[in-house]
């Protein structure tokens, strides 16, 4: 019943803040990785290079799908912004359903930008179905496809180190985040400006994907404060012997 209540409360807060955000747009703190992503998008369009976006192995039938869905929202925005580029972005994933959704999202992004004829089905790729086959299939994209920036966002395991290393060797900009703790610690050591924890889910808001993404961030902040108060309050009550 508590879980049901939390979901209902979150849904109501989200809808309320979407309504409020329409009237007053939000101001975000500076996150260096997203600043660099915005610069990289402009640069890739100008100098005729590609973005490589890797969405990971987030299976849509497990709890890991949240990061994959957040990455798809970011992809939609990036597809719109790079639709005028000579070289379209390449999207790689390690899950078949996610790969199909990435193709759908790319096509939707091009359609929204009025450039649907630019869409190629081969730009959304399934590169492997196990962690290391996925990494082995993804590394050549960074190496052979004139990539200037690699965006790694989604559910990855330790194999993310190989992808980060490939991006480093090719001297491409690396923007990386994962919902997996092992991958986060690896990316902390491998990426210039790592995204930590829930910063992964802020990608849509920082790329201007719309008020719903801004509202999501605000609701996350509120829920985080509620949790902090609950933890501190619970500890205090336990300390004084209330329960």
């Amino acid at each position: 019943m508590l879980a049901f209540g939390i979901v209902i409360l979150t849904a109501l807060l989200l809808l309320a803040f979407i309504y409020l955000r329409r009237k007053s747009p939000g101001v975000f703190r500076r996150i260096e990785a997203y600043e660099r992503l915005n610069r990289s998008v402009g640069l890739s369009v100008e100098n005729g290079t590609r973005l490589h976006i890797s969405l990971g192995r987030g299976n849509l039938f497990t709890a890991r799908s949240g990061s994959a869905l957040a990455a798809l929202a970011m992809l939609r925005r990036l597809a719109e912004r790079t639709s005028v580029s000579d070289r379209p972005p390449i999207v790689t994933s390690g899950d078949a359903s996610l790969s199909i959704l990435s193709q759908d999202t790319l096509q939707a992004g091009y359609r929204a930008a009025g450039a649907e004829d630019q869409y190629r089905i081969s730009t959304g790729r399934l590169t492997g179905l196990t962690p290391f086959s996925f990494a082995a299939g993804t590394i050549p994209v960074t190496r052979d496809e004139a990539v200037s920036a690699t965006v790694i966002l989604g559910d990855f395991g330790a194999e993310v180190a190989l992808l980060a290393d490939a991006a480093d060797r090719e001297d491409t900009n690396l923007i990386a985040a994962s919902d997996n703790l092992s991958a986060q610690s690896i990316l902390y050591a491998s990426a210039q400006d790592p995204l930590i924890g829930e910063e992964l889910f802020a990608s849509g808001a920082y790329l201007g994907a719309g008020v719903s993404h801004d509202a999501s961030l605000q609701v996350q902040d509120i829920l985080r404060w509620v949790l902090i108060l609950a933890i501190v309050g619970g500890s205090f009550l336990k300390f004084v012997g209330f329960f």
Partner: protein
């Protein structure tokens, strides 16, 4: 048509969520049926994904791109193992041999490369980002490695203290990160459930 797609996706998602949170008999049955359908669709998606993989490699070969020989090797191996699996069944010893003698050693090799890559990344970390947090990260990693590694003299004196002390901070930090990720996942899922984000149907 796009509205119909969105309506079906939203209704299915809401039924599954309600069936999970509020286990009424009818909702639970519906949730089970929808999940079974999703599993079948996921299996078909794997076949579509493999076709996509072949298509991309064939395109590389056709346009004579760099390293397209590996693409040819991939297609031959894929068709070979797929055909063998279909004819002989996945439990057959020859099909098992393809897994045990090829896939397992290749993945083990990549795992070994991963270890080297991580050491290399740690060495380069200070050159990439020299700040207080980086120094703390490296010192804690080295101390933990020393405390957990096997030595000729057996366990290092006081290793349990190091592990307990470091574990106290790391488990607290990990919980904080996981709570943040859970909140992000909840909000992202709700956006998809309400049809605000629609990564399906080309919307």
């Amino acid at each position: 048509m796009r509205l119909v797609t969105a309506a079906i996706a939203m209704a299915s998602g809401l039924i599954v969520l309600l069936g999970y949170l509020y286990p009424l008999e009818m909702l639970t049955q519906l949730r089970g049926t929808l999940t079974d359908w999703a599993v079948i669709i996921a299996a078909v998606a794997v076949l579509v994904g493999l076709l996509n993989l072949m298509f991309v490699q064939l395109e590389k070969i056709r346009t004579r791109q760099k390293n397209s020989i590996y693409g040819a090797l991939l297609i031959v191996s894929l068709l070979g193992t797929f055909g063998l699996g279909l004819v002989l069944g996945p439990e057959n010893q020859f099909v098992q041999l393809a897994v045990d003698a090829v896939i397992v050693p290749v993945e083990a090799s990549l795992m070994a490369i991963l270890a080297v890559t991580l050491v290399y990344a740690s060495i380069r970390l200070l050159r990439r980002r020299a700040d207080v947090m980086t120094v703390i990260f490296l010192i804690v990693a080295v101390i933990l490695l020393i405390a957990t590694m096997p030595t000729p003299i057996g366990p290092i004196p006081g290793d349990w203290l190091i592990l307990q002390f470091a574990g106290m901070f790391s488990s607290g930090g990990a919980r904080g990160l996981l709570i943040g990720i859970a909140l992000g996942t909840l909000l992202t899922s709700l956006r998809v459930l309400f049809g605000i984000d629609r990564p399906y149907g080309g919307n």
